[in-house]
């Protein structure tokens, strides 16, 4: 792609991100604040269920839970809308030629804005409580970038699959729910045994939640090399998904 092409692509991406954020704010009282606050509502619910009722034995449980719930909410909210990222805008695809991956990636951009806003609120809370290890803020961009790349890859694939078959969007909610309980977000990793533990070894979300928890809850990296490794894995995953997307997107205006 030429320099002008790259500039056009990035401007279009940002314009679509801005458009979606503005659209979500229209005809609402609190506008774009809702998606940023929804993880706090989930936090309240899960703290009640797993801390007060089931008594999960974890010290500073709300902080432990939120450090895992925050990246998970970014993933779950984006994936829930991912399949329709292209199917909902067929006229846009038929109107002008552009890099079609911009459509799913602009959705990731929008959700990333909300995610970073919530993360900033959480970091501010930790700082006020005196529970923040300041030097860990230098590491924080690594899992944020890795998570965004991972979600970007998955959403690109979901959006292109949905153009050809709508089955994925119908079953995705169930998959996300099962996935949520496989990742140790509401419980300690040691509490799961057998097959679940084996499954977790190959689940990038398990690794990513672990890094977020290291940074925001533990205050130190339990495996520093893993943090760099997960960033590399997510970058490769994104590149592979982008190649697959572009391969199938050649006939998108014809097929959408």
């Amino acid at each position: 792609m030429t320099g002008r092409g790259k500039r056009r692509t990035s401007e279009l991406w940002w314009t679509l991100v801005e458009r979606q954020i503005r659209l979500r704010a229209k005809r609402t009282l609190f506008g774009a604040l809702w998606p940023a606050f929804s993880p706090f509502l989930l936090l309240a619910l899960y703290v009640f269920v797993f801390h007060s009722v089931f008594r999960v034995p974890v010290r500073r449980y709300p902080v432990y839970l939120f450090a895992g719930l925050l990246p998970w909410t970014f993933l779950a909210q984006t994936l829930a809308q991912g399949p329709t990222a292209i199917s909902n805008d067929p006229d846009l695809v038929r109107r002008a030629p552009f890099r079609y991956e911009i459509l799913p990636l602009s959705l990731v951009g929008v959700m990333a804005v909300y995610f970073i806003a919530t993360l900033a609120m959480f970091v501010a809370y930790l700082a006020i409580q005196g529970e923040l290890v300041w030097k860990m803020l230098l590491v924080l961009p690594l899992p944020v970038i890795a998570l965004s790349l991972f979600i970007g890859g998955v959403v690109m694939i979901l959006s292109i699959v949905d153009v050809y078959t709508r089955d994925v969007r119908l079953v995705l909610g169930n998959i996300i729910t099962v996935w949520f309980f496989l990742v140790p977000i509401v419980y300690r990793p040691a509490m799961a045994k057998g097959a679940v533990r084996s499954l977790r070894r190959v689940d990038p979300m398990n690794m990513l939640v672990g890094v977020f928890r290291d940074v925001l809850y533990q205050g130190h990296l339990s495996r520093p090399l893993n943090t760099v490794l997960i960033l590399g894995i997510c970058a490769v995953f994104f590149a592979v998904c982008l190649a697959v997307f572009r391969h199938f997107a050649v006939n998108l205006p014809r097929d959408v």
Partner: protein
């Protein structure tokens, strides 16, 4: 110098779909365009005539670069701006100003370029700038159309593709659009104009072609082509765009 539009043996096909709308691996393709060869010079206006389903919009989409040729070659030089599906990307909840910016960026303009042309576009659309800060759903369809058309006509295109869009505009705005298109053409823009308005093609186009069942049946001067098309329309069979297998099979 090469012409801004060069088309060689262009075929555009669509894969078959089943009743649920999903694409089938097997089955006959629907060929919207078959073996089109066309060359349009800078500063030329080429009119395209033809019945519904003849492949006119598919031809424009191919020239716009939206559809890749299934076979053959399409080459355009410079920025291509198209007045096809102007509603795409327009969000009724956004303001006219916000939609104007998105429309411009979609056309390939930078945000700075859109801002630089903002006053010209607004003046051309004839809409009060204060109204543009209100949501688009508070405007009539015609006003929304004016903004979209203004963005396209002020994007400095080397190639301009117009698809029957002016039919929805009122007489004054239509005249303004035709004047602007003529200005662009004088400055070297190659224009392709699809219309059922034969008088418009006769007055605006230099050359024209009749597209029927995906093929150019007649290409000549606009006046000659319109005359031929009028004759053809009188004698054309009623099933000119009849689907494969006939209407009865489709209904069943």
């Amino acid at each position: 110098m090469a012409n801004p539009i060069e088309v060689e043996h262009l075929w555009e096909g669509f894969r078959p779909r089943n009743k649920r709308g999903t694409i089938r691996r097997r089955g006959a393709w629907h060929w919207a365009l078959t073996d089109i060869t066309l060359s349009i010079e800078a500063g030329e206006t080429f009119g395209v005539l033809g019945p519904n389903g003849a492949g006119k919009t598919t031809l424009l989409r191919s020239l716009a670069g939206v559809l890749r040729p299934t076979r053959g070659r399409v080459e355009t030089i410079g920025r291509v701006a198209s007045l096809i599906d102007l509603g795409a990307g327009v969000s009724r909840d956004l303001t006219g100003h916000e939609n104007l910016l998105i429309g411009g960026v979609l056309l390939g303009l930078s945000r700075a370029e859109v801002r630089a042309k903002y006053d010209d576009i607004v003046a051309f659309s004839g809409i009060d700038p204060a109204v543009l800060s209100k949501p688009t759903h508070t405007y009539s369809q015609g006003m929304a159309l004016r903004i979209a058309v203004g963005v396209v006509l002020y994007s400095d295109p080397a190639v301009l593709l117009v698809d029957e869009i002016l039919a929805a505009a009122d007489e004054r705005f239509r005249a303004r659009c035709i004047r602007r298109i003529d200005e662009l053409r004088t400055n070297g823009t190659a224009v392709v104009l699809v219309s059922h308005d034969l008088a418009l093609i006769e007055t605006v186009a230099t050359r024209a072609g009749v597209l029927h069942k995906g093929q150019f049946r007649h290409v000549d001067t606009a006046v000659e082509t319109v005359a031929q098309y009028r004759e053809w329309a009188k004698t054309a069979p009623a099933d000119a765009v009849r689907p494969r297998g006939g209407w009865r099979r489709q209904v069943r």
